[in-house]
């Protein structure tokens, strides 16, 4: 494993830590005051800093350090995590993510933004309440640390950001004041197994002050009962130093999660404990070679203090053991919180995809085998036939299991949205809260990857156009803070994502007028409310009066709709004026297989996605009504539904088929309304493996993809929505004229 691979793993770990960080901050924002949440947030930043240090990513370390210091104030109850504080923290999490991305991919980080946040964070750490103005006057005064003359400290280059210890001003006011800390330190087994050494930590500690120590060996079992790799000792330490508590703690920084540690400023009058303390000699030079062979490359680093030596040591361990430096840092998080998280392995996505492809081939092969056995087995009872049924069952199970490997919770996408809400809301001066639900709903990774963009667009739209300004909201008797709710849930084999805002809803008058102006509809068109709402998905439709940075750049909801459709999904909107809008997206759980109805149209075999079909019926002559040139309706239970000849619309035949000789599939399109699709016959229902036409051939209008049937022939999968849109004709400009192009 070379360094680049290790670094790549570090960045992968960073992504997880950043997600952890954001979800923790959001929990705090929602009023969660569980110390474990604060710890998790702190650990996330701490781990990123640790790993970044090992790779010398100084910008990242510097920012993470300041962020971590402020979080430490929250952790130690010196700073109340109010909404204002959390706002700064959430922004800092965003910047930390940017810095991480920049460190990985290069690219641009808004330095002024990170500088401003550093100031805000420092101000918070110094006990200043966050003010709208970012300038924090008394921040930059670097503590005059006179200690620096003694051992070589703080020159490690890891703290390029001037940091103030103003909050500890009192101690300094006592004049060059030394103070005494009572420290108890009891390492756990993991501390050693991760390559830390208690003796080295104690050595580092002894270097920052005058130390007396008592070792508690009472826990040591008998020789034959002991586990030589377990940890039995504990220490009480009295440390007289000019350093602040944070510096003392930072000695243990990479071991903190693997030991019991308390650091308390001793009260002057009361000596720490009644333990016989042995002074530790200051000259420990004999131990300096101690790091010896294990970290020979980093011996110089070992002479600097805490941060540097620990980070270098972490890096040295990495080289030695070929494990990720990040893993070392993150492992600290992992072991405390993670026993519960279960065991996972990282697998390259390509490998999973290859497996999925192979299983797809297996399904097709199994279908072909079944078919040829059926053809050659007249009575259908042979043992081969029965064995094949079991094989079919197994194949299906294998397929489901493989699909489950690719399934991922939508959480990361949802988390990204909360950042977008924050940023866009800030830009347009609105106050908006994003509530998410069902983040753990799982869906295929491809779907997740492709859904982020349309969702981002919709969220921006909701913030920019959906939610009103605080003034307007107050005038309308609403909470000045708007709410956007993003939910995900499974419903009948699909994932349903809903985006609900409590804004003003769609201004139907304006939408209709705009549609008329843009010649999308005839001026006298009579449209239902639902149809008007759905006009916003029409190509080139934008109601924004001013073109803002956020949305309304001409690429509108039609792009969103097309992306969703490309995923085999549907999107619809419902809106209540004054109360807000609800966008509902229904997406397939996977893009690899599909349950379909296999039908025959003009001698061709087509597959219609089962999810689109409401019912199938055999039309009777009396139910068919013709009008106009070649329009037909079918009456179904007292209502009329347009009848669409699939063979005609796909140009499989030049004249309309006789409906009575075929079968009608009643389908529902996302634009509302139903259509009856005429096909010649139904062959049956089947799960088919989706093969992209675009990748293997070229896009065919009206066709979503293709599949290979049991007999080896290619069958086309119908794009129901495209066919319905093409048949819709007059009321909307067709998005695609199949009859003309197909």
């Amino acid at each position: 494993m070379d360094m680049n691979e290790i670094k790549e793993i570090f960045f992968q770990e960073c992504e997880e830590q950043l997600a952890e960080l954001e979800s923790g901050l959001l929990k705090l924002n929602d009023g969660d005051r569980d110390p474990e949440t604060v710890n998790a947030v702190f650990r996330a930043v701490h781990s990123i800093k640790g790993g970044a240090g090992a790779f010398g990513l100084e910008d990242l370390v510097a920012f993470a350090h300041v962020f971590e210091t402020t979080l430490d104030c929250v952790r130690s109850n010196r700073l109340e995590p109010s909404q204002d504080v959390l706002k700064v923290m959430l922004k800092s999490a965003d910047v930390l993510a940017d810095l991480t991305n920049a460190a990985r991919d290069g690219g641009f980080v808004d330095e002024s933004r990170s500088r401003a946040l550093v100031k805000e964070l420092e101000a918070l750490a110094n006990g200043e309440t966050p003010a709208p103005s970012v300038d924090a006057p008394k921040v930059v005064a670097k503590a005059p640390e006179p200690v620096q003359a003694a051992p070589p400290t703080d020159d490690s280059g890891f703290q390029p950001v001037p940091f103030s210890f103003d909050s500890f001003g009192d101690e300094e006011a006592e004049g060059e004041g030394e103070q005494v800390f009572d420290i108890t330190f009891r390492p756990r087994r993991e501390l050693f197994s991760k390559g830390n050494e208690a003796a080295l930590l104690l050595r580092d500690l002894s270097r920052i002050g005058e130390m007396s120590i008592n070792c508690d060996i009472d826990g040591l079992p008998a020789l034959d009962a002991m586990d030589p790799e377990d940890s039995y000792f504990g220490w009480s330490i009295s440390l007289k130093t000019k350093k602040a508590e944070e510096d003392v703690r930072s000695v243990f920084e990479f071991a903190e999660w693997d030991c019991e540690l308390t650091v308390k400023a001793a009260e002057a009058a009361a000596p720490a404990a009644d333990l016989p303390m042995v002074p530790v000699p200051f000259d420990l030079s004999a131990l300096d070679e101690v790091s010896g062979p294990a970290a020979s490359a980093d011996v110089s680093a070992a002479q600097t203090e805490s941060d540097a030596s620990k980070m270098a040591a972490a890096a040295a361990r990495v080289e030695k053991k070929e494990t990720a430096a990040a893993a070392a840092a993150a492992a600290q998080t992992a072991t405390t919180a993670a026993a519960a998280a279960g065991q996972t392995i990282r697998v390259d996505l390509d490998r999973v995809d290859r497996l999925i492809n192979l299983v797809g081939e297996l399904v097709i092969n199994q279908a072909m085998l079944s078919q040829s056995v059926i053809e050659n087995d007249n009575n259908g009872t042979s043992s081969i036939n029965m064995g094949l049924e079991e094989l079919q069952q197994l194949t299906r199970e294998i397929q489901d299991s493989v699909m489950a490997i690719r399934a991922q919770p939508v959480k990361p996408v949802f988390q990204r949205m909360s950042r977008i809400v924050r940023e866009v809301a800030d830009m347009v001066g609105k106050s908006i809260r994003l509530v998410t639900e069902g983040e753990n709903t799982e869906v295929d990774k491809t779907v997740i990857d492709k859904i982020a963009e349309p969702l981002t667009h919709m969220i921006r739209n909701a913030v920019d156009h959906g939610i009103e300004t605080p003034e307007k909201r107050e005038a309308a008797g609403k909470d000045p803070e708007g709410t956007i709710k993003l939910t995900a849930k499974h419903r009948s084999g699909r994932i349903l994502i809903e985006l609900v805002d409590d804004g003003a809803g769609i201004n139907r008058e304006r939408v209709k007028q705009k549609a008329i102006d843009n010649e999308l509809i005839a001026p006298d068109a009579n449209l239902s409310d639902e149809e008007i709402d759905n006009l916003i998905f029409a190509p080139g439709f934008s109601t924004a009066d001013t073109i803002s940075d956020i949305s309304g750049r001409g690429v509108g909801m039609d792009v969103v709709k097309r992306s969703i459709q490309a995923l085999g999904g549907r999107i619809s909107i419902s809106s209540r004026p004054g109360h807000g809008s609800t966008f509902t997206m229904s997406l397939p759980l996977t893009l690899a297989v599909l349950d379909g109805m296999v039908v025959t149209v003009a001698g061709q075999t087509l597959v219609v996605p089962l999810t689109a079909i409401v019912e199938t019926l055999q039309p009777e002559a009396t139910a068919i009504h013709s009008f106009g040139a070649n329009q037909r309706l079918i009456s179904i239970r007292d209502s009329f539904c347009p009848l669409v000849d699939v063979g005609r619309i796909l140009n499989f035949r030049s004249v309309q088929a006789n409906p009575v000789e075929g079968v009608a599939l009643l389908v529902e399109s996302e634009g509302g309304g139903q259509r009856a699709l005429m096909v010649d016959a139904i062959q049956g229902q089947r799960q088919v493996v989706i093969k992209s036409l675009e990748a293997n051939y070229t896009h065919v209008p009206g066709i979503a993809a293709a599949t290979i049937l049991g007999d080896g022939r290619v069958a086309l999968i119908l794009d129901v929505d495209a066919v319905v849109s093409a048949s819709r004709g007059q009321s909307l400009k067709p998005e695609m004229s199949l009859a003309a192009t197909g």
Partner: protein, 99 residues
Amino acid sequence: MATKKAASGSLKLSPVLDLTEASALHGTLMSMRGRNVTIDASEVERVGVQCVQVLIAGARAWQADKKSYVVDKSSDAFAKTMQLIGIDTDLLVAKEISK
């Protein structure tokens, strides 16, 4: 193996007594039970807490066995580490008690 056992019941500690040495040291000591032992720590450059735990447990076991257990030579690094981690070298000694 880094720890060397001599027939006379003396044990020369290896220069690096880290985590990986703790089990080996433990095994060596277990195999020397019942005999007087003299420990030579003169070449120790680095000693971790876990090996110290084993050495102290050893002293207690020898004490219980009423056999002698002595660290007769120690390097500067060994002595300083003991001081650093607050271990009195008396804890590393067991006296033979003749029956």
